[in-house]
Amino acid sequence: MFSAIRPRIASVVAKPAVLNVVRPRFFSQAVVARSNIASLHTLTEDESLLKEAVARFAQEQVLPKVQKMDETEQLDKDVLKGLFEQGLMGIETDAKYDGSESSFMSAILTIEELAKVDPSISVICDVQNTLVNTLFRKYASEDIKERYLTRLATDTVGCFCLSEAGSGSDAFALQTRAVKDGDNYILNGTKMWITNSGEAEIFLVFANVAPEKGYKGITCFVVDKSMGVKVNKKESKLGIRASSTCTLNFDDIVVPATNVLGEVGKGYKYAIEILNEGRIGIAAQMLGLAQGAFDATLPYLFQRKQFGQNIGSFQGMQHQYAQVAMEIEAARLLTYNAARLKEQGKPFVKEAAMAKLYASQVAEKTASRCIEWAGGIGFTRDYPIEKFYRDCKIGAIYEGTSNIQLQTIAKILEKQYSS
């Protein structure tokens, strides 16, 4: 009942890894080089404090409601309110817009910690921060930022409306049209598979203003629900059921030209760039899912006895959970490194794709194994383990299917290795 906030002092300057480089004798000098680079496990003090706070919030406020939210396919209003109150829906947003003014890595850690308890809640937070907020922060005019960022940080859910019935991976084949009419645009079309759309009041809609230009007509519009967005069919899903995934209809919606995000015709560019970053968020979600499943299952292996011993001490089991733990660690390092590369301003597209691809694979394998290790209990809805298995599949599908990730990585390698 008492859960203390448990910060760890993470050394900002970590223990140096000592590289002893002794130069050959004939230079008659022995030179010792030292590296001050910290391991990827290193977090700043703020990041550690945040990780602990989110973990505690997730355990106390989210965990008791997970099963019900999954069964009823409904996001609990108090959980959503809690996310806003903790400052977790505007993690990187400036303080002048009532955001938490924190780092990208803080967002990644938040997404991971939430996913350990409920991947649905994690994705709601992920979309709000890494897709919606980031689009506003990077490309919106000051006027649009003032009108929307505070709402998004304090009480309003946003969503990213790109996919349609006829365009998923082939995103730029979208059919939603925006026709200029004086100072407005008239939007017509249908979006499908939109996360958060059941709760959202703010919609970032990608529509084409000039289909004859192909993808170069795609423009991003900021649409308020009050402009007439119709939220239809909520999908009944295998997993992440507490996260709403709906079809949206736009019938002659009037959007002021002042609500164009960034520049007309640049929407395709914004979408690609945002999704590259958002990928790292999904990697963090899958990572948290894997870790959460693992943490929920391993203690059981040392409680359940068969043939006179803990099932966790049979060598067959030992080999399996050692293998899975190694793969989770590898997924963690890929994810954290992609996040740190992005923070540093270095190229990260390949690493982000690798992180998302690998983490989703590890999540699936981990969840699958966890059910097997827990036996009959693992297969029962009364226990939390089977939910992780259902939730993991989406990792290979959204924000770029696994095949698309492979394409992305391959294209970069091709550029690198061909002359």
């Binding site: 906030i5 448990r6 910060p7 002092i9 404090l49 303080a95």
Partner: protein, 257 residues
């Protein structure tokens, strides 16, 4: 307009959820590489101080300055940062790697009280590592201040606090003029989480450091721990057929009658 200065004492202890073990030497509980956090009763104390401040600001009758203090090794700063992230205004770290028993802590806190001149000092009723339940009371004795311990409710009036205490016989209400000592019990409040914006704000809050020598206090331990041992392992229960059988077993086997 009332402006209060509240000093909150906190301690870094082994986290309540950890399964503690006796160390190899049998001399103490194993604390190396074990998760630590703020003593839960101190969290309640920090929360109470912040709530008092918020109530004053909301009623527009004044404000409060919440100062958290912790005595201990360098890692005690983690505890202080948590308190700052909850909403305390500034922190004081009395740094020492020596063992600090309740009397020593009370003397150190007295020195801090003499520097800061707070209107209230809030402590947890006891720390969950040693369960001493002494520091608050000793501090009140050293300062010659009134004390209200095991508080489950606190109301502040004009230079007066009314405290409902949970005691063995039930609940008791006491009034004490400020400055006074308060120790918190479980049901006083539910501590808040450190929200992300507050964690970011905490970075800018001041943290002052003192050594024991700076404060001129004798912290020599007065108590010596002779032995630490784990409690005996639980035995299985037995079913009894009749009351006579039960009495016989209680008398002759368990030897409690």
């Amino acid at each position: 307009m009332s402006n209060l200065r509240i000093l909150v004492a906190t301690k870094r202890v082994v986290d309540y959820a950890v399964k503690i073990r006796v160390n190899a030497a049998g001399s103490a509980v194993e604390t190396a590489n074990v998760k630590h956090s703020m003593n839960p009763f101190d969290e309640i104390g920090t929360e109470q101080a912040i709530q008092i401040k918020e109530a004053l600001v909301k009623a527009k009758t004044g404000t409060a300055e919440v100062i958290v203090v912790s005595c201990g090794p360098a890692k005690s700063q983690e505890t202080l940062r948590t308190a700052l992230a909850m909403g305390a205004d500034r922190a004081i770290h009395v740094e020492s790697d020596e063992e600090l028993q309740p009397l020593a802590v009370a003397k150190l806190l007295k020195a801090i009280v003499e520097k800061e001149k707070p209107d209230m000092v809030i402590l947890g009723k006891q720390a969950i590592d040693d369960d001493s339940n002494q520091t608050g009371q000793m501090l009140a004795g050293l300062l010659n201040w009134p004390q209200a311990t095991f508080a489950s409710k606190v109301e502040l009036g004009d230079k007066l606090m009314t405290v409902t205490r949970e005691v063995d016989g039930g609940v008791e209400t006491v009034k004490a003029p400020l400055p006074a000592i308060l120790t918190t019990d479980l049901r006083l409040n539910v501590p808040r989480y450190a929200s992300l914006p507050n964690i970011m704000k905490a970075k800018k809050k001041p943290l002052a450091k003192f050594t024991v020598a700076d404060l001129g206090v004798d912290i020599k331990p007065r108590l010596q721990t002779l032995k630490i041992a784990e409690p005996p392992k639980r035995q299985g229960g037995k079913l009894v057929e009749s009351v006579d059988d039960l009495v016989d077993k209680l008398k002759n086997e368990a030897k409690v009658l």
